[in-house]
Subunit: 356 residues, 2 copies
């Protein structure tokens, strides 16, 4: 098969460690399935600030642009928290999304049966929860004009939230498409009783819904959605929403599964290109100790195989290996009930590779 190019951005904190394990899994699929991958590493986030003076160096962007997919660890840490905006890891994250046209963030919130206990929700409430949050990623208040000015009440700050029809259409259509491959239910989340951008959003959703008569659509106000995720998580299939609401709701959804250390995400644009990363952060407090959980990043490779390369068999084999290793009782510290029996990052990676 043809050679696939993967840009690898380890980032900060535990990022490089967990990416390291994911790359072992990637290598193993070359052996097992005959794939060929060419990986190229780039500096990104805090480490890029330290070494290149910017969180998203031009070389890194070029590596990504030449690649078929990007595998990202995580960025950020206290070291850079008080930097000015241009010198913060998050700015690199926002920059790469915009530069690569990654307008859609897809986050499955799945409950791992063996980790059900880790959720703070009652098991019977969680039962059957398997939802996907589709978050718009390059528009809204994240990217609108921002500034300070003098006003009557002293200095004032302004953020602008903008959405145009095209931006809403492409993300909504993608969400409908995803719903068609799953439970055929879509919840569109907005605040149409207050925001003009939400009213535009809802108009577009209603217009596009006509093309998907099989999909059962509900409009849910964002405050109500924050409640319903808690009350009836298993009733959701696909949730689509704008950037800021998606940031909040996808984290809430991830946390309620109890499996946040296991969740992966995809950021997609037009075509098959995608950036894949674990949902969890860079966890600077445990970085370098070899105790982080690589599973979310390993599952990000499986997601990459499914969504960018169409390597479904290999994706399934990774997912099954993870399940088998967990079913056999192996746990990293973050998901272990008995912390004294926890295994380390490399041991977990090795076990998964061996189980494939």
């Amino acid at each position: 098969s043809e050679v696939k190019k993967i840009a690898v951005l380890g980032g900060d904190g535990i990022g490089p460690e967990v990416v390291g394990e994911a790359l072992k899994v990637l290598k193993k699929t070359e052996e097992l399935f005959g794939y060929q991958f060419e990986t190229e590493h780039g500096l990104f986030g805090g480490i890029a600030i330290d070494e290149k003076g910017t969180p998203l160096p031009q070389e890194t962007l070029e590596i990504c642009q030449k690649a078929d997919a990007v595998l990202l660890g995580a960025v950020g840490g206290p070291k850079w928290d008080n930097n000015s905006k241009e010198l913060r890891p998050e700015t690199g994250l926002l920059g790469i999304r915009k530069a690569l046209g990654l307008f859609s963030n897809i986050r499955p919130a799945t409950v791992f049966d063996c980790l059900k206990e880790a959720s703070t929700l009652k098991p019977e409430v969680l039962e059957g929860t398997d939802l996907i949050v589709v978050r718009e990623l390059t528009g809204g208040i994240y990217f609108g004009e921002k500034f300070r000015r003098e006003g009557a009440g002293g200095e004032e700050a302004v953020d602008t939230c903008v959405y145009n029809v095209q931006e809403v259409e492409r993300i909504v259509r993608q969400a409908f498409d995803i719903a068609m491959t799953r439970g055929k239910r879509l919840a569109s989340v907005d605040k149409a009783n207050v925001l003009e951008t939400s009213r535009l959003w809802r108009e577009v959703v209603n217009r596009i819904a006509v093309e998907y008569p099989e999909v059962e659509l509900e409009h849910v106000l964002v405050d109500n959605c924050a409640m319903q995720l808690l009350r009836r998580p298993s009733s959701f299939d696909v949730i689509v929403t704008e950037n800021m609401f998606g940031d909040i709701l996808s984290d809430e959804a991830a946390m309620l599964t109890g499996s946040i250390g296991m969740l992966s995400s995809a950021s997609l644009g037009e075509g098959s290109f995608g950036l894949y990363e674990p949902v969890h952060g860079s966890a600077p407090d445990i970085a370098g100790q070899g105790i982080s959980n690589p599973i979310a990043t390993i599952l990000s490779v499986a997601l990459m195989f499914r969504l960018t390369f169409g390597y479904h068999e290999a994706a399934a084999s990774i997912e099954k290996a993870v399940k088998d290793v967990l079913d056999a009782g192996h746990r990293t510290g973050d998901i272990a009930v008995d912390k004294s029996k926890a295994i380390g990052t490399t041991a977990m990676g090795d076990l998964i590779v061996a189980a494939m």
Copy 2:
């Protein structure tokens, strides 16, 4: 004692029914404690749209302005959902907040012991949860300029989020004051890694924090807060945040207590004036059946007594009566485990009055 004027806005759906029971409790306190209340009713919300052509008629506003406090039921319903903006109940709600200068919304999220089971969270996670969300209510993206325009990507919609130093100062100071009367812990929630208004917010919080050396302050990003509310609800004492984030997080916090039918809220401005209302909505589906739960509205009267009138003894007597009636096993349908034993709205109100 002097006569206190209370504006009463029943509103829509179950609003008038639950307010009716709260007024019985109010009357009872006149008898028991020698207070004197003068109540004046005003049309508000959907019913005002139907009868006066606007959700917030001038007469209603004047009744509120002449009063010492406002007791509100709930507004809204499907009948008015597709109206144009000026003819929607929510517009009345936003209008009354602005017109009365109610810049602060205070929502205690308390777990009622006898309702712990109603929460979808595990009881051991919920244990000890007792937090207050202080939400800025007259600024931010709710009240900034909103419009449509033509752009390169088709029609576009714009919302503007604005905060000035003064607006942030007054709400933050109030939150610190509340924290001083409680557990002395304050979580300020923002999205300072993305929004300019959040960076201003955080600057102001840090500046004011110096005046409250006894209060332990933490800054929490909004996405992280949505997670932490689920993971460690009992670790929060007072949460302060801007309007939009507060809308989402206060609903999430309310829902996780399992006691949403019991929660009351206060909207305050400068001075002692306040508007009090249940957290729940107008529940049009059960309106007029006499089965709604009046407890949140009755507890709103207690909150009014505490925050506006300083009638602490009477407030305690209402709160105790509610507790006694619940402890005796009486439940309305929404909170009953055995629905066949549920009692109605008036029966619940009568029991609470009798228990005072």
